[in-house]
Symmetry: C2
Subunit: 195 residues, 2 copies
């Protein structure tokens, strides 16, 4: 399940986890405890968490943190931005020496969770970015998730793992034609609107 594209460049994700409950601190800390973050650089402050490393690990960790937070059955959302090829972030980094084996496939294997997600790809520094976005959105139809266009974003509905896989593939494929890409997302599960 690893994707080799982009493995020689540092990727990152700046995200925030939002458990809509009074015990949000416990939900966040408990999720973080159950996820193996040993292959990513990680920094958290009061606004967000930033993880950086190989693309495969950045997606693996983001997916696992969300799954461990939502398995409580509470309404939890996560919002953030993936980035790769940022000119300010291209220096060598110790976490780029890690192997490509994702650390959290086992510990999320049993978690089944449906979610809705809106994501948007932003290929930077290119004039024909709209064409590149459209190509990727077409591809995502094959990924086992329902794809719906919305204003400023594309909506994905399905299993959380399939949603993160679809975003990862989309993010990886656009790298074959564009150097610097950012991708925003908001994923939400157990919303009372759906019950």
């Amino acid at each position: 399940m690893t994707n080799e594209c982009g493995t020689n460049r540092i990727a990152g994700c700046q995200f925030t986890l939002f458990p809509m409950s009074e015990d949000f601190v416990d939900v966040i800390l408990s999720a973080l405890e159950q996820v193996d973050t040993s292959k990513v650089w990680k920094e958290t402050d009061d606004v967000s968490t930033c993880i950086r490393g190989k693309m495969v690990h950045v997606f693996d960790v983001a997916n696992a943190i969300f799954l461990h937070a939502v398995k409580s059955g509470k309404h939890v959302a996560m919002s953030g931005t993936f980035s790769i090829g940022c000119p300010g972030d291209s220096e060598g980094h110790v976490y780029m020496d890690e192997t490509n084996e994702p650390m959290n496939q086992q510990n999320v294997q049993e978690i089944q969770q449906k979610a809705g997600c809106k994501f948007a790809l932003y290929p930077m520094g290119t004039e024909d970015y709209m064409e590149k976005i459209t190509e990727q959105i077409d591809l995502s139809k094959e990924w086992g998730v329902k794809v719906t266009p919305t204003h400023y974003a594309t909506r994905l509905d399905g299993e959380v793992k399939d949603i993160f896989s679809a975003m990862k593939e989309s993010f990886a494929k656009v790298q074959t034609v564009v150097n610097h890409i950012t991708m925003t997302f908001t994923i939400s599960a157990n919303s009372p609107s759906n019950q």
Copy 2:
């Protein structure tokens, strides 16, 4: 306080409000009830809310919704993406006929609230986007908020109104040199990490 730049083009913001409490539905609905959204197109689903209209109203409504949600004293965050000049969103729109007077300056006037925010500007379709981003971040130092660079974003700390003003100015100014801009943000207030 209106900014004329961009008033002839439709702007938008796709955002989600995250009250970290069991009564999150009440906090969201109560905030929405107290905000005058008559000058923007608005659509909400289980993942996010999208507002579209003149730039001045999009920022006015986003700022007011966050302020009315956080005045409860609860830990509330808001995350989203502002957009203007999106090629898929350039058609004429009934909300573009509204006057430029913001509708929520009065109803938020009394609300004092400190927050932390991370935002990132993405000028699209241009090769020298990094230079354009840096110019705006330099400017934001004058806006009464503390400005700190972080990975993939710039952090702003200060009063919520000043943070939204700084983001609006930054978003407006980069439009003088770039047509399509997106700007991501996550703003957080009353975090227990700061208490």
